[in-house]
């Protein structure tokens, strides 16, 4: 079974600075998808960014980018120019490509990000 590990329960960053959240996963599959979701205090789960394992190019979405290292099974999230609104719990998630009728997300434990003004 796949597992996802986020080794940083809490992180903090100064406003306008850059922060990197770590995520590692364990799988024997070669095709899969990785996601970062954000959960602010409102508890809504918001998709931040996704990465297809078959793509070598790292995904970017505005101030958010990933460092995807397939051989190392590492998928870190970099937030540039941090804003107060970025404060939230961030979850790394894995999805297999093996199930064709809708697949479960396997989540990490989450990293609570604090942004200091």
């Amino acid at each position: 079974a796949q597992t996802v590990t986020q080794s940083q329960p809490e992180m903090s960053v100064q406003e306008a600075e850059t922060v990197t959240l770590s995520c590692t996963y364990d799988t024997s599959e070669s095709d899969y998808y990785l996601f970062w979701y954000k959960q602010p205090p409102s508890r809504q789960m918001i998709l931040v960014i996704r990465q297809e394992a078959y793509k070598q190019q790292n995904a970017t979405e505005n101030r958010f980018s990933v460092n995807f290292q397939k051989a190392a099974k590492s998928f870190s999230l970099k937030i540039s120019d941090s804003q107060l609104g970025d404060a939230a719990m961030y979850f790394c998630a894995y999805r297999t490509d093996q199930e064709t009728s809708g697949s479960r997300l396997t989540f990490g434990e989450g990293t609570q990000l604090t942004v200091n003004p």
């Binding site: 789960m45 009728s101 479960r104």
Partner: protein, 113 residues
């Protein structure tokens, strides 16, 4: 327009009661899910339905019964509620194929007293 909606957002009830949580999506997706987020914020899949057919059924007590009247709706009924059922329950939906990104509802915080 709300993409994935859940009702109610908060549910407080006594042990032993039966309750339901409703979920609706207007994204035209084929697949819907229920996830449970425990007190430590850990999220885990409970069920998945594809076109009204049960696809994923994790190790969940049979007091939990999902029902999908059509592919836009997936309800969760819980019988004989226990203290340990207190959690946030999220509904999600996705379109099969490609990245199959899942979009989540706002969650229902269930508190069992």
């Amino acid at each position: 327009d709300t993409a994935v909606s859940q009702t109610p957002k908060y549910l407080v009830t006594q042990m032993g009661n039966d309750k339901s949580i409703k979920c609706e999506q207007n994204l035209g997706h084929d697949t819907m899910y229920w996830y449970k987020q425990d007190s430590k914020k850990f999220l885990k899949i409970m069920f998945s339905y594809n076109n009204k057919e049960l696809i994923i059924n994790e190790t969940v007590p049979n007091r939990f019964s999902p029902k999908s009247p059509d592919k836009a709706h997936l309800n969760l009924h819980i019988n004989s509620l226990e203290l340990g059922d207190s959690a946030v329950y999220f509904c999600a939906s996705s379109q099969v194929g490609g990245a199959d990104t899942q979009y989540f509802g706002p969650g229902t915080r269930l508190t069992v007293l």
